[in-house]
């Protein structure tokens, strides 16, 4: 099986290195890198905005581009956090704690250098895990029945809503709200209309592009216009400054390994968000350190471990999405949605029906990560300067791309109003400090959970014990309960630490 995987990977490289695919992969990481540095824009909004572009593309370059945006933003986010103390994206908020003090000490370049090494190392481990675990998981996945799929998705929903950062109960509420949005449209089994409120345009349900652009694009602009003040500093970094000393490397090696392990673990578990991952990685380093009091003053371990965990998680995240068709977090849900629109259904059959896509994607991860390391060196100062593009030009342009982009998905202006509705609703939720990210996970997983539950109940003739009599589903149901009990347990410390980055 391993030999087969390596042969397939080899052919994957030939797919990923085809000029056309390479170009889109490059474009994806470049856009991702840029968006990662820009405050207020995240992987979700970038992918949502560029998704309509992929409808005219072949699925292979389309997926490579979207995936490139995803891991490109993680590299970019670290730049903003270390050089400018801007926690542009919640997962990088911890990187600010030790990264920015390093910049103030004139060691920002070293912090970036270590980040790149840690990121590349962690991403490589994540990719290797994907190469060897995907075929195993696929072989296993063919044995999964509807009851098992339901239980796994349920765990994804429970974990996604309670562990994505912020107060768990708010995450649960927003996930449920997302599920309700997902039920909108024609019911697959009976054909009856649900939550369409008499609009024929809603018969196909709420558009994935519309809901994501509304919640992560328009809602953000409404909240930030005339409100956000973007500070731009003038730190410049040369290649020479980025070379870490032997001591730096020694100090960051173990944290890097531990961060990678945590990231891989959380990536394999459906539903856990990146913010929790980086926070746990940081907390672990602080606990294990001989000098915990020096954290916050520029400890290199406090940069290496969280960044490594973020990258490992990003790559490992693709395993459940591609092999089971169960997205691990909101970004993966969006990428999976884009694939489904392309007519490619992620799931156990993906590797055999679209080997070019799967292995090409794996190979493109590696190429993309190499590209990012090379790109980052000359581009850091360019990105920092770009931060000075005034918001007053940024958001009208983005709104225009959103409007035209969503229009192109169904050629219907109704979609534009859908985006606006979700934008206004999202702004209301953000003002009330309710997180909008879990909505997307619920939106994508909700209908899938329902379908598998109904199928399982049909197979068992209405007997609920089917979920406990099958070993796989029983395991996941027990895990769900364990997670809920664990969340209800009073642990103020963890909550306080979570609420600190509520975003």
């Amino acid at each position: 099986m391993i030999g087969q995987a390596l042969t397939d990977l080899w052919s994957g490289f030939s797919v990923a290195l085809a000029p056309h695919n390479l170009m889109w992969s490059f474009f994806g990481v470049l856009v991702g890198n840029l968006v990662g540095v820009l405050p207020g824009l995240g992987a979700l909004s970038a992918i949502a905005m560029l998704m309509p572009l992929t409808f005219v593309m072949h699925p292979v370059p389309a997926t490579m581009m979207l995936a490139g945006i995803f891991y490109g933003t993680i590299y970019g986010g670290a730049i903003g956090a270390i050089l400018l103390n801007l926690p542009c994206h919640p997962p990088h908020a911890v990187t600010c704690i030790d990264g920015y003090p390093m910049t103030k000490q004139g060691r920002g370049g070293v912090a970036l250098g270590i980040t790149m090494i840690a990121s590349f190392f962690a991403a490589s481990i994540g990719i290797i895990l994907m190469i060897f675990f995907s075929p195993v998981l696929v072989a296993l996945a063919f044995k999964f029945g509807p009851a098992d799929l339901f239980a796994i998705m349920l765990l994804g929903l429970v974990a996604g809503s309670t562990m994505s950062g912020g107060t768990p109960i708010k995450g649960v509420a927003m996930t449920l709200l997302g599920m309700l949005c997902g039920f909108c449209g024609t019911d697959v089994s009976t054909g009856s209309m649900r939550f369409t409120f008499g609009f024929p345009d809603l018969a196909d349900g709420v558009g994935l592009v519309a809901i994501s652009m509304g919640l992560f694009g328009v809602a953000d602009f409404i909240v930030n216009v005339n409100r956000a003040s973007f500070v731009a500093g003038g730190a410049t970094v040369r290649l020479r400054d980025m070379r870490p000393t032997r001591k730096d490397l020694k100090e960051s090696f173990m944290p890097m390994l531990r961060g990678t392990a945590i990231g891989s673990l959380f990536g394999a578990m459906p539903g856990t968000g990146p913010t929790v991952t980086t926070f746990i990685a940081y907390a672990l380093e602080k606990r294990l350190s001989k000098t915990p009091e020096r954290f916050g003053q520029g400890m290199i371990a406090g940069v290496a471990s969280p960044e490594a965990s973020a990258h490992a998680k990003t790559q490992v995240d693709f395993i459940p999405t591609m092999c089971l068709g169960i997205p691990g977090d909101a970004v993966m849900a969006l990428i999976m949605g884009a694939l489904i629109i392309q007519g490619v259904a992620p799931g156990p059959q993906l590797i055999t029906t679209h080997p070019d896509l799967f292995w090409g994607l794996v190979a493109s991860f590696w190429i993309g990560n190499v590209l990012l390391v090379i790109l980052n060196v000359p581009l850091i100062s360019v990105w920092v300067r770009l931060l000075q593009v005034p918001y007053r030009y940024l958001y009208p342009s983005a709104l225009f791309f959103i409007a035209v982009g969503v229009l192109s998905t169904h050629n219907s202006l109704f979609q534009v109003y859908e985006v606006l509705a979700f934008g206004l609703f999202g702004a209301l939720l953000l003002t009330l400090r309710l997180p909008v990210t879990p909505i997307l996970l619920g939106f994508v997983l909700g209908p899938m959970v329902e379908e598998n539950f109904r199928r399982a109940m049909q197979l068992s003739h209405g007997d609920l014990t089917i979920f406990l009599s099958r070993p796989i589903s029983a395991t996941f149901v027990v895990l769900c309960f364990a997670l809920i009990v664990f969340q209800l347990w009073p642990k103020r410390q963890f909550q306080a630490f979570n609420e600190g980055v509520d975003a």
Partner: protein
């Protein structure tokens, strides 16, 4: 500009509870079905009930919480963004892509207090030209550039 101190979670929870109740109420009308043959209404109803419970929990939790300052979005900005998108829809269905794009960018740009009308108009013209080249000419978006009464 309004920074008032309110119990933010009370309102957030109430909103969730309200939405959950409405969804559950509508859901029951779709038919719950039987255990062996679940109807289209069971999931909307049960998810709605769970949402209502979560909403109540959020609101109840806030009772012990402190009052917090609310950062309401800027009214002018929000209104201009919304008006811009509505204008894109209306102008788009009667006038075509180019005027719709111009209207959207102009109106939404006016939402920023630092933008002057002249600057907003310049931005709108520049982006409309770019948009026409990219979307209409290069990506072949199915929408007339200029039209009268197309819907």
């Amino acid at each position: 500009m309004t920074r008032s101190e309110i119990r933010i979670d009370l309102y957030g929870g109430a909103l969730c509870a309200l939405l959950g109740c409405v969804a559950a109420f509508i859901g029951t009308r779709y038919g719950l079905g039987t255990p062996a043959d679940i109807g289209p209404g069971l999931f909307p109803t049960s998810v709605g009930i769970l949402l209502a419970i979560a909403g109540v929990a959020i609101a109840a939790h806030s009772a012990r919480d402190r009052r917090e300052a609310i950062d309401a979005p800027d009214l002018r900005g929000a209104l201009c963004i919304a008006a811009g998108m509505v204008a894109f829809g209306i102008v788009g269905s009667y006038g075509g892509l180019a005027p719709a794009s111009f209207a959207l960018i102009l109106i939404s740009a006016l939402g920023d207090r630092d933008n002057t009308p002249a600057r907003a108009a310049l931005l709108a013209i520049a982006l409309t030209v770019i948009g026409v080249v990219v979307f209409w000419w290069a990506l072949k978006l199915q929408m007339p550039l200029f039209a009268w009464g197309w819907s």
